[in-house]
Symmetry: C2
Subunit: 362 residues, 2 copies
DNA sequence: CCCTCGACCGTAAACGTTTACGATCAGTTC
DNA sequence: GAACTGATCGTAAACGTTTACGGTCGAGGG
């Protein structure tokens, strides 16, 4: 190969210096004694390569540890190579496992994930996150939007790529579609369990109504009650903290208005309630039945072990990624939400007739 | 959710909306009436461009919503533009907040983060993760390696870019350096608290010795005891689950060997212990003092509220990113670990003289 | 008036791929 | 034996930047 008309592809500026530089497609080609075009073909599993040649190239790739430069690939094929995830900074998330599961599915499908946090759930912050992701060249975005203000921000933002929102019970728009677990069903399951146990006075110590989860769980509670011909009783709305629940519980016992049964919006809520009751001699489940929601780690070792609702975050991640990739590739994909399951333990028990009242009183 | 919401700022930011294609540096140049070289200069804050021109170019960039193509940039300058994070799939992680904090710091420093999960803590899995990250062109990698087998895998793996491991008490090597919170100090704090309360019979219900956290917390317990002239008592090693702790607790009460005080390796461990004791009439803290580790959400509403040790994951993320970026840019950076803090609540109390024994015996 | 010098700006080449197209060379077919 | 046909392979031209270098132009020194 003399200097005459060195074709563009050959590595001219480095004879055989063999620096620590990453090998390129040309290095492979040269060693394998083919042109870089051929190497590209084997890289992309394209036809028009003989088995023997393919084998040889593959061998060289293996030997010198060649790895395709993603930037170059991304540059020429605008085909996206990664997926963006924007997560709120909020602590009340699914476990890290959710994120990991998301990544896992994406990787198996050949996409890298880059996650980015929205500093606030408002428009500029969300738009900034979306833009940053767009820069990177993601092919689609999943935003975890537990809070309604964040969802609103997403609806108002603009983005060139498909955006999927994980937000329980939020509505889809043409440009932003939604996926989530069927938390309303979960709430109905929990409430129904209490109903089946014979309770009629079933209160709800709710989460924040700024959260979709809070809204949807409350809705499920109401729906179950109505379906059973019961009128929804007390509903206290707060935040998700054990502290708030504790204080709420205190008020209940002080006011002498502890209900027969409580559907707590989260396990942490249940935890606060239980402590407030325990400190005042109100026994769970003997005096009041409680069921929680989330099945956080350790809830099986609360005092008493908590009957609660479990969401399958891994399945959620799997499905939502399926949906997004489907949208990116223009495929249609089934979008029936995942169903949570009730896990019954010891915090809710059969209703006993209230003292001085006939049972089945209605 | 009425239709009042703007239907997702459709093309609002794209006035003339000529083509769907992203504008390039050439589009900007053409509209601004300069050459692409000039645009590149203003993009990079290079000198040799007059204030007037710079202003005009900036304006055009703003107007047409130009955003620099990262792939192209990455291709020509090999300067890294992102940071990789590999996390084990394990559930026993810090909260999502840790990951988010990591991302946050990185973004502020101008790096994107891409996280990837190692499917197993073994060598091929870890190496694969490292390779994938290398492909993407990250400038440095943070691996969260709680398990010793994973750390070993990292030590044995090869990687062209700086690798930082977050692993409590693991040693640094020339190629892989380590950062973490000072968990041994945390364990000593917890134990010392018990000692200060007058306990002399302080057992440790440990975590798994496959975890750095498990090893280091045990070491801290021993160290505190020795420093106080006490000989370490019972040490039961298990996993981190409440379940195992529960069963261990059961054995303790059945054997009549419940110690005076227990340093539990984690809050979940403490939770299991507490239940086992509660179910058998052993009162916490009256009969046995317990201090946990982690300060998980809700531990302040356990029965009783748990005295425990809190790690500052945000600070950890901040510092470790600082360290990594420092290494990437060849800077020296202070690497003193972060100190956890003891948060005292109600699960540990002053020692009472054992029945039938004189106090201050031994 | 020529030369030099900054300040400003344009241009070519390179980064490592993919894609479209053209070339070569057996083997077939007539 | 000429022309056609696949199968296999090589080549040029992009993709959107950055970098190194070269040019122009007006001002100022001699």
């Amino acid at each position: 190969m003399t200097g005459a008309a060195v074709p563009r592809g050959t590595n001219r500026r480095r004879p055989e210096a063999s620096i620590r530089r990453k090998p390129t497609i040309n290095d492979v080609a040269q060693i394998a004694g083919v042109s870089f075009g051929t190497v590209s073909r084997v890289l992309n599993n394209a036809p028009d390569v003989s088995a023997a040649t393919r084998q040889r190239v593959l061998q060289v790739i293996q030997d010198i540890g060649y790895r395709r430069n993603r930037a170059a690939t991304a540059l020429v094929t605008s085909r996206p190579t990664s997926i963006g995830i924007v997560a709120a900074g909020s602590p009340r998330f699914g476990p890290v496992g959710t994120l990991m599961a998301l990544e896992n599915v994406a990787r198996k499908k050949g996409y890298a994930t880059t996650v980015i946090s929205a500093e606030t759930p408002y428009e500029d912050s969300v738009q900034a996150a979306l833009d940053t992701l767009d820069d990177i060249g993601v092919g689609g975005i999943i935003v975890i939007a537990p809070v309604v203000s964040m969802a609103a921000a997403v609806w108002n933002a603009s983005c060139r790529v498909p955006v999927e929102m994980i937000a329980a019970g939020a509505s889809s728009t043409p440009s932003v579609f939604t996926y989530s677990e069927n938390q309303e069903l979960g709430a109905r399951l929990a409430t129904q369990h209490l109903i089946d146990l014979g309770h009629t006075d079933i209160a709800h110590v709710a989460g924040s109504m700024d959260w979709f989860d809070g809204r949807v769980r409350k809705r499920g509670w109401e729906a179950a009650l109505r379906a059973a011909g019961l009128t929804p009783g007390l509903c206290l709305e707060g935040d998700w903290t054990p502290r708030w629940a504790y204080e709420t519980g205190l008020q209940l016992v002080r006011g002498g208005t502890v209900p027969q049964a409580i559907f707590a919006a989260s396990d942490h809520t249940a935890l606060g309630l239980i402590r407030a009751f325990a400190e005042n001699g109100v026994r769970v489940p003997d005096d009041v039945s409680i069921v929680g929601f989330d099945d956080i780690e350790g809830s099986d070792y609360f005092l008493p072990p908590l009957t609660t609702v479990r969401q399958d975050f891994t399945a959620l991640a799997l499905m939502s990624m399926e949906v997004l990739v489907g949208a990116m590739e223009g495929r249609e994909v089934d979008r029936t939400p995942i169903a949570p399951t009730l896990v019954v333990r010891n915090s809710a028990t059969r209703a006993v007739p209230l003292k001085g009242q006939p049972p089945k009183d209605k």
